[in-house]
């Protein structure tokens, strides 16, 4: 069993304090995602952005009770993100910064690219996006249809968070056949040929999931990430590592939704019957179990970024938990609970959306299976 040390406990406590600020704007952002612009001065919003920057771009680390945090370990991320998502996952995702594109630029970008990318983020409140998923082929890289030909980017991406308000982002495209032909490139929101349109979604509305159209976006070589690396290193090798590090944080966000639903019942339902107490206790135990798995997955990717099978298991598990916990919580409030308790309704809607963040359940199950098959092959 993993027990947090004083340092991480301090981070957790501070994140829980910040979460209250996110909760206060949760329902407003759900109605109008642009309202995030009015809350950019909240300390939590500032730190969400900074938490994913490489250490050299941190103007100053986060200091809590004398402990310093640069946000460069997956375990720090999951401890912090569970709390923040328990406040509100929508506000967490709607914050400016580079939660997904940042780690990729940090890994694949040369010095100039990193300077341009993170320098811009430090200079102004800028949202970023990471565009992999496509309308026809989802996130399957073997079906990637967006192309780079003669330094021109063409194609379409779908379900891309924050794309309509982003100043800069990373787009995956194919410059040649096979896995080595997949490239990650920097694209600016004001590039000619780039357009983004928000899609109406059932939940996670603050994230502004968008359709991105790339109609002959001109690039120069400075936009190609990983030019200074070998073809093998700048392709699948690198971004599998990045996604392995991001996935525990996504799992932690789903866990946060489950926690929020559980806490809502504890706060708003008194005088539980013995059967209700048992049901709530069972939910609490399940949440604790999934939290351990999420923490273990973070420890595993911190030790070896190539080892993502626990992250996949944690993400699949936490997503199911989020949906189940929100449904179970609604069950404590009788008929019409979704209309009388808008926050619980929002949790139930948001929980459905975690399925599509960073790979669906089936993608995660296949990753776990491949790990098992590989281990069996390697060890006879």
């Amino acid at each position: 069993m993993i027990v947090l040390d004083d340092r991480l406990c301090a981070l957790r406590a501070r994140s829980a304090e910040w979460a209250a600020d996110l909760r206060a704007i949760a329902l407003d952002l759900d109605r109008d995602p642009d309202l995030i612009r009015r809350h950019l001065n909240l300390p939590v919003i500032e730190h969400i952005g900074l938490f994913q920057y490489p250490r050299r771009f941190h103007p100053r680390p986060l200091v809590v009770d004398g402990h310093r945090f640069h946000g460069d370990s997956a375990l720090e991320h999951v401890v912090c993100f569970e709390e923040l998502a328990a406040g509100d996952i929508g506000a967490l995702i709607a914050a400016p910064g580079a939660p997904m594109a940042g780690p990729l630029v940090a890994l694949l970008g040369d010095d100039d690219q990193q300077e341009a990318f993170f320098g811009r983020l430090l200079a102004e409140h800028t949202w970023t996006f990471l565009a992999l998923t496509e309308p026809g082929g989802g996130s399957a890289t073997d079906r990637l249809a967006t192309t780079i030909e003669d330094l021109t980017l063409s194609g379409a991406k779908r379900y891309i968070g924050n794309a309509t308000r982003s100043g800069i982002g990373v787009v995956f495209a194919r410059s040649g056949p096979g896995p080595l032909g997949i490239r990650a490139v920097l694209v600016h929101g004001d590039d000619p040929g780039f357009s983004a349109t928000a899609l109406p979604t059932v939940g996670l509305r603050a994230a502004l999931l968008s359709q991105v159209d790339l109609r002959g976006v001109p690039l120069d070589r400075s936009r190609l990430l990983g030019e200074h690396m070998s073809a093998a290193r700048r392709g699948t090798w690198s971004w599998v590592r990045v996604f392995n590090r991001i996935r525990p944080a996504v799992a932690a966000m789903a866990l946060g939704i489950a926690r929020a639903a559980y806490d809502y019942v504890r706060t708003n339902r008194h005088a539980l019957s013995p059967a209700e107490r048992d049901r709530l206790a069972a939910l609490g135990v399940r949440i604790d179990g999934v939290r351990q798995l999420v923490w273990r997955s973070a420890v595993a990717v911190d030790a070896d970024p190539a080892d993502g099978h626990l992250a996949s298991a944690a993400k699949a598990c936490a997503t199911s938990l989020a949906e189940d916990a929100a449904a179970a919580a609604l069950g404590f409030f009788g008929a019409g609970a979704r209309l009388d308790h808008p926050l619980l309704d929002k949790l139930a809607r948001d929980a459905r959306g975690t399925e599509f963040m960073e790979g669906t359940g089936n993608v995660q199950k296949l990753a776990v299976y491949h790990h098992l098959a590989r281990r069996r092959r390697d060890h006879g």
Binding site: T133, G136, G137, G138, R158, Y159, L199, P200, T201, V202, G203, L204, L209, E323, A327, A328, L330, G331, F332, F333, G334, A335, G336, A337, R338, L339, D340, A348, R349, R352, G353, E355, F356, T360, G361, N362, K365, L366
Partner: protein, 211 residues
């Protein structure tokens, strides 16, 4: 299944949840607005606009007698539905009548679920995923869920709260599984995601959560 319920299910399947729900509301009689046990109603806009009687578990009262609070939501508006809340009148409800209504809601939801399954199959076909064993297994689970509800509702025994909770729970689980297989498109408010959400809301209003 009685013929009117068959119509509700068919309409919901062919023309959408709102059409099935309209037909079900019509079974209560003209100008009647059905309220669930918590004092909430979720009905097509036309029903909310024209109803003169409030129906509480079979007990009718003058609609204008109590204040109503409209509950707005853009998903509801886009679908042509209206949610309302008003105080629950004192006195017992006719439990059998509530169960009868919840049974009708289950048929409406099952019809919409069948449409979702067809949409899902069409989507998986375009993605060439129907041969994938993981996908096939989940699809089979979902369709088995629909068959289970069908069997529960047609079982011949008098519907009980437990039976109806199980039927509605199974529909919710099935719809969610299908919407997941539909990919992120199953999360769109102008697509199948909205139908799943509205179907869940109907169960919430007229039955409530797991007892």
């Amino acid at each position: 299944m009685t013929e009117p319920w068959a119509d509700c299910r068919r309409l919901s399947h062919v023309d959408g949840l709102v059409a099935g729900l309209s037909a079900l509301c019509g079974m209560l009689g003209p100008k009647v607005l059905p309220f669930g046990p918590g004092g909430h109603a979720l009905v097509p806009r036309s029903v909310a606009e024209t109803a003169t009687s409030a129906w509480f578990g079979g007990v009718l009262s003058e609609r204008s007698a109590e204040p109503e609070q409209p509950l707005t939501d853009e998903l509801l508006s886009a679908a042509g539905l209206v949610a309302l809340r008003r105080p629950v009148p004192p006195g017992p409800r006719v439990v059998e009548t509530d169960l009868w209504w919840a049974t009708g809601i289950a048929w409406v939801r099952l019809g919409a679920s069948a449409a979702l399954a067809e949409d899902c199959l069409a989507h998986l076909e375009t993605r060439s995923l129907l041969g994938n064993l993981l996908v096939a297994g989940q699809l089979a689970d979902a369709l088995t869920g629909q068959l289970t509800v069908d069997a529960l509702l047609l079982g011949g025994s008098r519907p009980t709260p437990a039976l109806l909770h199980e039927a509605h729970r199974q529909i919710t689980e099935t719809d969610r599984a299908l919407s997941r297989l539909r990919g992120a498109g199953g999360f769109l408010a102008d697509g199948p995601g909205a139908a799943v959400h509205l179907s869940e809301l109907l169960a919430d209003v007229y039955l409530g959560g797991t007892p």
